[in-house]
Amino acid sequence: MKASNGLWKDRLDSQLAAQLAEEIDTFETEIELRQQDKVDEKVFAETRLRRGTYGQRYDNGQRHDGSQSQTLAFEEKYTKGPHTVWDAPGMQRIKIPYGGVNAEQLEAMADLAEEYSDGIVHITTRQDFQLHFIHIEDTPALMRRLAAVGITTREACGNSVRNICGCPFAGVCPDEAFDVTPYAHALTHFLLGHPDAQNFGRKFKPSFSGCAQHACGLAGMHDMGLIAETRDVDGQQKRGFRLVVGGGLGAVPRQAKLFDEFLPPEELLPIAQAIARVFGRHGEKKMRSRARMKFLIEKWGMEKFTEEVRKERATLKEDPRWTDYLAHVDEGSESAKQPPGELPEDAGNDPRYTHWLRTNLREQRQAGYVTVTVALPLGDLTADQTRSLADIVRQFTNDTVRTTVEQNFVIRWVSKADIPALYAALDAAGLSQPGASNILDIVTCPGTDTCKLGISSSRGLTAELRNRLAEKSFQMDQAIQNLHIKVSGCFNSCGQHHVADIGFYGVSRTFQGFKVPHFQVVLGGQWEENGGSYGLPIVAIPSKRVPDALDRITEMYLARREKDERFVAFVKRVGKGPIREVLDDLTSNAPTPEQDPNFYSDWSDPRQYSLGDIGKGECAGEVVTQYEFEMAGAERMVFGAQLQLEGGNPAQAGKDAYEAMLRSAKALVQMQYDDVSNDPEEIVEEFKERFYDTEIFFDPFAGPKFADYFFAIHDRADTPATEDTAHHTIEEAQLFVEAVHSCYNRLRSEPAAT
């Protein structure tokens, strides 16, 4: 698309590392081969994904304009992958190992955002950068410009080792055991392109944390989480890692399980290699929805998984890279540019500045220095801001800054004496927003803005909540300010809603025959302790009423919390039932489309809401009343299951969740066969025959996944649930209920509102 694409090759090739240049040349050739139809579209799709070149909403050439699905008049030619139009803009993910970037790289990002994207640099919840609306033919030039500043997009997406996350405070945090940076760096380079890490059925996400108590690296929700620890071994302080495996959020979240309490650094790389080989060899390949490492561990159990990895480790041929880097780990990853100092006493009394001082600064373990968090709204900054940040980083530090999993930047090694000048520089660039890591600093995935799977507008909701919260942030009680809110556009959890104090994820519901965007309210999650516990959804609220729901929850917390009680403890003590009660009326009394058409559209999007952009509609019979009645019952039962679990009765919780699945399956079956009985065998059989074998129930993206949950739970219906399995059954039941809603929505024609 860009007239200059060829120029960048001529200009930069001699400056690039030979391997990087060759990789990009190869990718460019693959693009050409696909244009000549000499590469299969599926193969090409995985090829581009492994280079971080991703699809984006509407790239199937269809867009719902609020009343009908519109075919976008792209030129008909080759595709970028199944159902993916060649010319449709896509997203480019740029992996940033442990979030570390320098000023030159920031400047390159700014230029690329302007020239190839829409002028915005976006930071993801795994410390990557993302650029949107990119044309596939521009990607080789874009990659060359990144390579020229030492960044590769290789394995940023696809079934590969994704970005290796790491604490943005590594090396300077008072609470860390030791600086994990050199280890994260070594693992990144060891696994990048490693032949043992090329054959996965799905992605493999590692992460490093410097301590167990904070959430900076979120090690507990990764396929391979490494938490730094030191121990006294024979009178000597030794470093090691608590290694946990098989964690992950997504539709079916799992806490990572302990693999090794104290993995010595010499074993870090070989064990990672052995895990990759075992996962590559034994992980599921056909059923995408069961292909993450967590499912292999679930199938085998930890004992067998550990044994297989240990056995594999024993067979590996010694590789000098396993330990070569260890000779340099103490050299210190970063140092200060300016001498240590003290914050000048006459700091001024600008309330915004003092608020910022309170929320965005953290003491370093090195006296006289602080880290400064640059809080970004929705993880976005402009090209001009990115260049200003580069200037600031050069002026105040030794040219380094890190991205965070909360979609912010952290500037490290700031001398306290420089704080006023740094604030002034950030303020001039529009980067001095206070409230880092608190209720204002809401994390969000792209949602319906750009994601093909988005159900509700997570970014629209986040922007709205931020506006409302900002207005009252000065008067907010500290307990409320400390809350973490995270929003995902669907159950896939890219916004990490499971580990928020208050999480939201997008779903849809039908009122009076019209679809209405909703968000499930997720409570009980814990951000601390590396995402120490996962929340569960309690009720779906219409999107436009979510701000009211948030107000009610926070008001209830303020009114009823015990001294210093944290939100997660409050939810546990009070129970989800009473919290849901204060929200219940928000789920009913919907206005008609004539009374309030806004209610039927999403935030920041005036189109009448529809699911047309994620699935194709077709006509079916009308059994609205019966269906809605049954589904309301099913949702109540899933919630009841949660209350049972809370009350210490996991066996009943498991049973109730299963019953909810049966009831919603029956609701769907009744659309075609009114006389279906309550016999579980009959419901399952009818559901299978009518909706599974015909693939009518299959989710456009997740395929049979949710039905498979149902069948699996039905098969083990006689086995009493434990606390762990009940939790999973509830999650799966909730997803199945959502899938029934989606299927129902697909089957119904979409009436037009006003």
């Binding site: 698309m1 860009k2 007239a3 200059s4 120029l7 960048w8 200009r11 909403r57 509407y58 867009r63 304009d65 609020g66 009343s67 519109q70 976008l72 008049a73 792209f74 010319d87 449709a88 803009p89 400047e107 700014a110 230029d111 302007e114 020239e115 829409d118 002028g119 915005i120 949107h132 609306f133 044309h135 709204p377 929705l378 976005d380 900054l381 402009t382 001009d384 801001q385 260049r387 529009g430 803005d449 750009t450 970014r459 629209g460 922007a463 931020r466 920041s604 999007d605 005036p606 189109r607």
Partner: protein
């Protein structure tokens, strides 16, 4: 020097007097109607970013945005697909597209008014047009030809973007009003 990817930003006159949310609604309706020359794909809302792209109507061959870069609102036309002709032709094409969008917005949003004396012209491609004095020297005549055809006289002044890290471009001040609507209607 062949210049592609021409951008034109026509500034709002005075302060923005309408709620920027309205641009979202209008751009969505333009997309539903496919009422521009380019294939329109989606609307991106960046109102949360200070001095940012504002509200962007993303198209295949070009984007339109109600842009707030450098804290000045204006209608930005960002040509993405290469076009035929001379540099002056390409400047004119971009200006016409921007002017057409401005007149439509003015008619749909009473109270909104765009400047008739000042706009920005820049090249969104650092390889084709690095922001160095040589670039200005080589295309000064093309800019003058374009302004002559736009205004019918050669009295306009233009100043180059001084920051070498920003894209090459000029701020044009015409001295007298140009007729935006008439210009747009010839598009």
């Amino acid at each position: 020097m062949e210049l592609q990817h021409v951008n034109v930003k026509i500034f709002v006159e005075g302060d923005l007097s309408v709620d920027p949310e309205q641009f979202i609604n209008i751009f969505h309706s333009w997309t539903a109607e496919q009422s521009c020359d380019e294939l329109l794909i989606d609307v991106a809302d960046y109102r949360h970013v200070p001095a940012g792209p504002g509200v962007v109507l993303v198209g295949l061959q070009a984007d339109y945005a109600m842009d707030q870069a450098q804290s000045r609102w204006g209608l930005l036309y960002n040509r993405k697909a290469p076009t035929e002709g001379s540099n002056a032709d390409r400047f004119l094409q971009a200006f016409r597209a921007a002017a057409t969008a401005c007149t439509r917005l003015e008619s749909e949003l009473p109270g909104l008014k765009f400047s008739r004396q000042e706009f920005q012209l820049f090249i969104n491609d650092r390889a084709l047009a690095p922001n160095i004095p040589e670039t200005l020297a080589s295309c000064q005549a093309d800019i003058a030809t374009f302004l002559q055809s736009l205004l019918g006289h050669g009295n306009a002044t233009f100043a180059a973007e001084p920051d070498p890290r920003r894209r090459f471009g000029v701020l044009v001040q015409t001295g007298s009003n140009f007729d935006l609507a008439q210009f747009a209607s010839t598009a």
